[in-house]
């Protein structure tokens, strides 16, 4: 038997007792957590097993001894051994409780002990070599006891096929399990490789191109960098990308992106909530776009803040800049026209527009639609 075949085919999940949710010692909760099942299920299993001559209680004590306390690495060797003995005892009690006769249970116990010692050499502090010898002895003893018991007893030819089936299962199951794991790992590796290739392509197509452009045209660096940033963000966080079906948030983002392109300012959009885009909301977005363009053109700032609040009953959209501002009562004719194109639009769809500004105070545009 090679060393490798003595190992368990898969890594066992790391189980430890937990403080939180515990009822007695946190054993059931700990097992439940690592298996990702409800703790009640684990507790019921222990309780149910307790009917098999108290196997559940013995198993619980065994698990208590064996499982590390939260945060501690591993319990002492003595504890580990007594825990394992208790667990084996519980297994024997269970099998007898299920109705298997002693002539089956004891050989099975020996075989199981052989497997445990073989696979858990480190746990028991035995050398690999000694563990291997012990395991082999136990396995052989178990099989001999079983064959001897059933042949000399001469009673159960019926049990022999069952034993063969169990033995087959013991051999085939770990192998099949390992095979499945390997297939999953391969698939995961393939997916990773695809992702890497996609990332490389993306970086090449856009980021490297932009960097080249910036080296050629340093004057446009800011604009190019911002455009690139927006593209990358849209790719990294796809649910922010304006969708084809069209949502309000998507339309506001798109309008902000357009203004950024046109006027080389930064338009920061913050939003809460969203809504499907209809005609009225489209008008709202147009009005907001106008407000953003105003801020970008006249305020003399390089940053405009937009906040979309579609959380409550209505929709509010705010466009704010910290720029030069103006006196709304004494604006030039062309500016008034712009203001009207915001206000007029909103009024046509039954909304309101409020423009608050003063020289040196920046401008605040509040658009509301209920």
């Amino acid at each position: 038997m090679s060393v490798r075949s003595l190992r368990l085919p898969v890594a066992l999940p790391h189980v430890e007792r937990v403080e939180r949710d515990r009822v007695v010692a946190g054993v059931a909760a700990g097992i439940a957590e690592s298996l990702a099942v409800d703790a009640t299920l684990v507790r019921l299993t222990f309780a149910f097993l307790a009917f098999a001559s108290g196997a559940g209680i013995v198993a619980y004590l065994g698990a208590w001894a064996l499982l590390p306390a939260p945060g501690c690495p591993t319990p002492r060797r003595g504890r580990r051994i007594s825990g394992t003995v208790l667990l084996v005892w519980a297994a024997i009690l269970t099998l007898r409780g299920v109705g298997l006769s002693d002539s089956v249970v004891w050989p099975l116990a020996l075989v199981a002990a052989g497997f445990v010692i073989g696979s858990g050499a480190a746990t028991f502090g035995l050398g690999v070599r000694r563990a291997r010898v012990a395991a082999t002895v136990l396995l052989v003893a178990g099989v001999a006891l079983f064959v001897g018991g059933n042949v000399s007893g001469g009673s159960s030819t019926l049990l022999a096929p069952g034993a063969v089936a169990i033995a087959l299962l013991l051999v085939v199951l770990p192998w099949a399990w390992r095979l499945a794991r390997e297939r999953d790992e391969e698939r995961a590796a393939r997916v990773r490789e695809q992702e890497r290739a996609e990332l490389a392509a993306r970086v090449h197509d856009s980021v490297l191109q932009t960097l080249t452009l910036i080296q050629k045209e340093p004057g446009d660096a800011r604009k190019l960098a911002r455009r690139q940033e927006r593209e990358l963000r849209a790719w990294l966080y796809p649910d922010r990308e304006p969708t084809a079906g069209g949502t309000l948030a998507g339309a506001v983002e798109a309008a902000a992106a357009e203004i950024e392109e046109l006027h080389s300012v930064r338009v920061d959009v913050v939003r809460t909530g969203d809504a499907p885009l209809d005609e009225r909301l489209q008008t709202l977005v147009l009005a907001a776009r106008e407000a953003m363009a105003n801020a970008a053109r006249h305020a003399g700032v390089d940053e405009v803040s937009v906040f979309l609040d579609a959380d409550g009953d209505g929709v509010s959209l705010y466009v704010r800049d910290r720029g030069v501002g103006f006196d709304p009562d004494a604006v030039a004719a062309d500016r008034r026209g712009v203001a009207e194109s915001i206000r007029g639009r909103m009024e046509r769809v039954g909304g309101t527009a409020k423009i608050v500004s003063a020289p040196g105070e920046g401008t605040d545009v509040e658009l509301e639609l209920s």
């Binding site: 963000r233 990294l236 966080y237 649910d239 922010r240 930064r266 920061d268 959009v269 913050v270 939003r271 809460t272 909530g273 803040s305 906040f307 609040d309 959380d311 409550g312 705010y318 704010r320 910290r322 605040d364």
Partner: protein
Amino acid sequence: MSRPMRRVVLVDDHDLFRAGVRAGLGATVEVVGEAGSVLEAVPLIKELDPDVVLLDVHLPDGGGQAVIMQVAPERPGVKFLALSVSDAAEDVIGVIRAGARGYVTKAISGDELTEAVHRTADGDAVFSPRLAGFVLDAFRSGDPVADPELDQLTAREREVLQLIARGYRYKEIAARLHLSARTVESHVSAVLRKLQLSSRHELTRWAAERRLI
């Protein structure tokens, strides 16, 4: 206004970005140390015991959260301000829940960052418009709540957050709502506390579901 000198440790894995921040910070902030990973940052912060740690949300060997969790129990006086380009709400909420006093985006100007460092050092909460948007989303009205004290925002808190999301500064908010700057500050701190303590399932579910700004 004369302000006390603040000692700052800068934790970010990009040298270039650290250099930029150092250059942008005002004269009232002294960068006493820099680290590029969790492993470097933890002992450095413990040794230097700075007023404020400017902390990148993403670090190669863990993240801002890991730094806070390892430092905070031993150095309760050190305040953390998260600094990130991340658009993922769960990252931001995660670092706040770990104990950061605020979150600002890396696009912030040097002056604003200096101001944010002072506010953090004073024990105040620092909300960028983006964080305010996250929080409003997380505490969306109408969802079932377990603990109304922690799981809901008051009308006033909501109002303050909405103004922050619109790009208002605390002083401007105070003027607009006819409150003192101190009161605005205490509302924001209350929101931060709720964000850190609320067990609102919505908060985690929402963060996992929506990876938006």
